[in-house]
């Protein structure tokens, strides 16, 4: 159910992006501690992308 997922409405494009708020918080925290944390960032992106894919498949 989309209501259970954190969503951020993009101001200009106006559509909902699941998990992006959660992701942003964690990602910025990683980058603040480690400015070169691209590896961790990639892992985080994979994790959230997989969550979205799983939820989308369950919903279809």
């Amino acid at each position: 159910m989309r209501e259970q997922v954190s969503e951020t409405k993009s101001r200009s494009s106006g559509y909902m992006i699941p998990y992006v708020l959660e992701f942003e918080g964690v990602a910025l925290s990683i980058l603040k501690d480690d400015g070169e944390g691209k590896g961790k960032l990639k892992e985080l992106l994979e994790e959230y992308a997989a969550k979205y894919a799983k939820e989308s498949s369950a919903g279809t």
Binding site: T8, S10, R11, S12, S13, Y15, I17, P18, Y19, V20, F23, E24, A27, L28, L31, K32, G35, K38, L41, K42, L45, E46, Y48, A49, A50, Y52, A53, K54, S56, S57
Partner: protein, 512 residues
């Protein structure tokens, strides 16, 4: 965090740069570090800087001929200590505390050394400041997220074009081939059914014929038996008549009758024998026909068996081809069980999953691109406002406006709106611009950072202009630290204080 602006900051250095041991104190206001060349001004400043920023490498801080070094800062009843250690391989490792207001961005906005980004850029004639504002506004974090998301999306797209998914594209053809095999098998099975039905009908017909003929044969054989009995009776009758004749006188009347009787019997016997002959022929013909029918039935059965066997072999071949085709389809439909990433999962599922991931990443990229644009626009506009304010308040002659345009390029506007390229500025003007930009950056992004450090930038500076800039800073930053070259006659390193209201310079030498 706002440092107490009423207290001294005590700094102690041990084996840092060219300094064996030194203690200095910084007070609120202007702190001038005066010393001859190679006396440790830069070492002191770099050491102090390392307590709130890691930008200067530890190997540039520890004394070159020492294995261990220490920096201690005391303020507000707390001591912060950082240690430097040279490893056997020669590298230098730093460990310990940082000051509570430490911020990596402070090196770019509050520490004016020759190697500081802004100073280096402007003195080198550079005018692009996107990177500078990115790191100060944390816009670089957004651009890293965007870059990482784009890399991952590209990687996933390449994976979709890979071999595992290409085999999946042959699936429609394989399914068509499988369907054709099923159709062929169904046709073969139908032929078998038709064959069995047809043969059954044919055999039934032959069997019926045979039964009828067998029945006729039985009747005819019975008739033949009857004829043979008749013949036997006639033979017996004739024998009796012959016996009677032998017992009778030839001249008697009855002898003539007996002779007639014998003649009739012989005639009848002849007729029966003829009939028996015909009947026997008939029976033989019937037997031949029955034998022929039996042979025909056998041949039909054999022919049917051969045809059925052929069709069943074809069905077997098709069954095997179907099994192989289904295996081929399964291989195209699923990743191999020993695939390290997908372990036998269906290709269509994995493809859908990857497509969804790319979809999410595209949304994330767009979202953070918007955030980046907003962040950078806000940062640029705020920065420009503070730059304009600084120039207005400094009232520096010669500059009407200094700002970053939409591409983050620096524009210098002289009086009467004449644009001047950065690289054509004098050394003094370049330094002024650098310091004002840094101060504007500090006001925009680090308003509460309590220090501003300037090192070795005063050598060719216009004294009047420098004094203006430093006084301006002193009113806005709690602690301003400036290094200044002194003659050898002045002695060792000393820190001179000047507060806003001080009319005299108060010397303080603690130790060296």
């Amino acid at each position: 965090m706002r440092l107490s602006t009423q207290r001294r900051v005590l700094l102690e250095l041990e084996n840092i740069g060219c300094l064996n041991h030194i203690e200095v104190a910084f007070r609120p206001g202007l702190n001038i570090i005066k010393a001859p060349n190679a006396s440790g001004k830069t070492s002191l400043i770099r050491g102090f800087t390392s307590m709130f920023s890691d930008r200067i490498p530890a190997s540039h801080i520890l004394a070159l001929d020492k294995v261990n070094g220490t920096i201690r800062v005391q303020y507000d009843m707390a001591i912060y200590e950082k240690n430097f250690r040279r490893t056997p391989s020669g590298s230098v490792v730093a460990s310990g505390d940082t000051l509570p207001f430490a911020d990596e961005r402070s090196f770019d906005a509050c520490v004016a050394l020759a190697e500081t980004g802004v100073v280096h850029k402007i003195t080198g004639g550079g005018a692009g400041f996107r990177g500078y504002l990115e790191s100060l506004s944390y816009g670089n974090h957004y651009s890293m997220i965007i870059s990482s998301a784009q890399d991952l999306a590209n990687e996933l797209s390449r994976e979709l074009a890979g071999p595992g998914f290409r085999e999946f594209d042959t699936l429609p053809l394989l399914l068509t081939e499988l369907t054709n095999l099923h159709i062929r098998r169904d046709l073969a099975k139908e032929k078998i059914r038709n064959l069995e039905t047809g043969h059954e009908a044919g055999l039934q017909s032959l069997s019926t014929d045979m039964e009828e003929k067998t029945s006729v044969l039985s009747r005819e054989e019975a008739h033949l038996s009857g004829l043979k009995r008749d013949l036997t009776r006639e033979e017996e009758k004739e024998q009796q008549l012959v016996s009677f004749l032998e017992m009778t006188d030839d001249s008697a009347k009855v002898a003539s009758q007996i002779k007639d009787g014998i003649a009739k019997s012989k005639e009848k016997r002849k007729g029966v024998k003829e009939e028996i002959g015909k009947q026997t022929e008939l029976i033989d013909s019937l037997k031949s026909e029955i034998e022929a029918l039996e042979n025909q039935i056998e041949q039909e059965k054999e022919r049917e068996a051969q045809q059925l066997e052929g069709l069943k072999r074809e069905v077997d071949r098709i069954d095997k081809a179907i099994i192989l085709k289904e295996e081929e389809i399964q291989q195209a439909e699923s990743f191999p069980l020993d695939d390290l990433k997908y372990h036998g999962r269906l290709v269509v599922e994995v493809r859908s999953e990857i497509t969804k991931k790319i979809e999410w990443l595209d949304k994330v990229i767009e979202h953070f691109q918007e955030k980046y644009m907003r962040r950078m626009t806000t940062a640029r506009l705020s920065f420009n406002r503070n730059v304009t304010k600084a120039f207005e308040e400094l009232n520096l002659k010669g500059f009407e406006n200094v700002f970053l345009d939409q591409d983050f390029a620096l524009h210098l506007v002289r009086e009467k709106s004449v644009q001047q390229p950065v690289e054509t500025l004098s050394a003094s003007e370049k330094l002024t611009i650098s310091l004002v930009l840094m101060l504007a950056a500090k006001q925009t992004f680090l308003p509460d950072f309590p220090f501003f450090v300037i090192d070795e930038l005063t050598l060719s500076y216009d004294p009047e202009r420098f004094r203006k800039v430093v006084n301006y800073m002193t009113k806005r930053v709690p602690y301003v630290i400036v290094s200044s070259l002194a003659s050898i006659k002045a002695g060792g390193l000393q820190v001179v204080y000047k507060t806003q209201n001080a009319s005299e310079i108060v010397p303080e030498i603690i130790a060296s």
